[in-house]
């Protein structure tokens, strides 16, 4: 099972929830940081890194001596990453989405596969929890290509070891966020009961509902703000799987890089209950009683 921890608003507690869930999960589990623009899951899981590799995208390289400036590549590219101006051909590698179409279509075979560095993928082990993360190259504009490569490695790792994965997704509702949740079995939306939290939560609910996946809400900093988030969840039939109290002790533990499920037995119980409900959500036909029988 793959569980994606997402949110509309940033800073609602995705990483807090992901790190805690991974820690109390029990059984083979991987903590995956797909927030490649600003990965931070490692700050809490503190894995020993076992390996890493650079990820690249194929971009066109021009052998200008062979180019007849026919413009076929330029016409094909909807991103204008390759362009022909009279007797000049130029590429904009940072605009390229890596489809390889220009290389395939060039009648003169003047284009070959070059590379653009996307970022780094690293993996390791944090106690009983496996770890996998992507880190986008500074200056790289697109995060989904790197995320796809992290997910490909995730598939390999899950195929080798079995078990579950908990994905720490990027915030927002645009391509990176959708990319992080689209291959999951369950989506968990973490929010806070503030006006900003509610507004962005609604956007996230709208963005992810068409994916047709089981979804649940986690309300962090419960006790703050108002009851709008509760009304929204009730109206949409979205189950609230956990409430994490608005508590200074949690903020202090977080600031020290601690995993909050380990702070108190009460907090641990919240995450154990959350885990069980996620497992139920993933298998709607299996009641929890039957699973525990």
């Amino acid at each position: 099972m793959i569980v994606a921890i997402a949110s509309g608003k940033g800073g609602t507690g995705k990483t807090t929830v992901a790190a805690s869930l991974a820690t109390i999960w029990a059984g083979e589990v991987l903590g995956v940081d797909l927030d490649v623009e600003e990965p931070n899951l490692h700050l809490f899981l503190r894995p020993a890194i076992a390996g890493s590799e650079m990820a690249h995208m194929t971009v066109p390289t021009v052998a200008e001596a062979q180019c007849t400036y026919c413009g076929a590549c330029s016409e094909l590219c909807q991103f204008k990453a390759i362009s022909v101006f009279n007797q000049v051909i130029i590429t904009f590698p940072e605009m390229c989405h890596g489809c390889g179409g220009c290389i395939a279509i060039c009648p003169e075979k003047a284009l070959s596969a070059g590379q653009r560095e996307l970022g780094e993928i690293s993996w390791g082990q944090a106690g009983g929890v496996g770890f996998l993360a992507g880190r986008l190259r500074i200056g790289e504009a697109m995060s989904p290509p790197l995320m796809r490569r992290v997910k490909a490695r995730l598939d390999q790792m899950l195929a080798a070891t079995g078990g579950d994965a908990i994905i720490d997704a990027p915030p927002g509702v645009s391509c990176p966020a959708v990319n992080a949740v689209m291959d999951s079995d369950v989506i968990l939306l973490v929010t806070e009961p503030t006006p900003f939290g509610v507004y962005d939560f609604q956007l996230a609910w709208e963005a992810f509902t068409p994916l047709g996946k089981p979804m649940g809400a986690v309300i962090n900093r419960a006790g703050l703000g108002n009851d709008a988030i509760y009304r929204f969840c009730q109206e949409k039939g979205l189950p609230i799987l956990a409430e994490i109290p608005y508590d200074r002790a949690i903020a202090e533990a977080y600031a020290r890089g601690r995993i909050i499920a380990t702070v108190s037995t009460g907090l641990k119980a919240i995450f154990v209950s959350l885990r069980d409900q996620i497992r139920d959500l993933a298998q709607p036909n299996r009641s929890r009683e039957a699973a525990h029988a």
Partner: protein, 120 residues
């Protein structure tokens, strides 16, 4: 024959200079001797998610102009226009196309050495 292109909100010499290059409504191509004009619609670039400036540069290059007058040009479009050998005159928003062309003819338009707007 010396022809230049001006980003324009409409097809004539009396329309306003469009301050944008990549997402300009269109380009009025002006023959500097006869003041004859030709209009190139840029609608296909306006709807692009990205690369509008590069596509606009392709359109202008195909029109065979020596210089482009506009408001702002981004870095990729500037690179593309430079590659195509087209000079760029910037900061001409607020004028009519005719006024911008007259300024150019009177050597009152500075040829840009770099883009005057950050890329996206």
């Amino acid at each position: 024959m010396n022809r230049i292109a001006v980003t324009s909100e409409g097809p004539s010499l009396d329309d306003q200079v469009d301050p944008r290059f990549g997402r300009a409504a269109g380009f009025v191509v002006v023959d500097l001797e006869t003041m004859d004009t030709q209009y190139i619609d840029n609608g296909q670039s306006q709807v692009m998610a990205q690369g509008a400036g590069i596509q606009a540069a392709e359109l202008v290059a195909r029109a065979g102009v020596s210089c482009l007058l506009t408001g702002s040009v981004g870095p990729k479009a500037f690179q593309a226009l430079s590659a195509a050998g087209i000079k760029v005159g910037q900061n001409l928003e607020g004028l009519t196309v005719r006024a911008a062309v007259e300024r150019f003819k009177n050597n009152q338009v500075e040829i840009a050495q770099a883009a005057n707007r950050a890329g996206r």
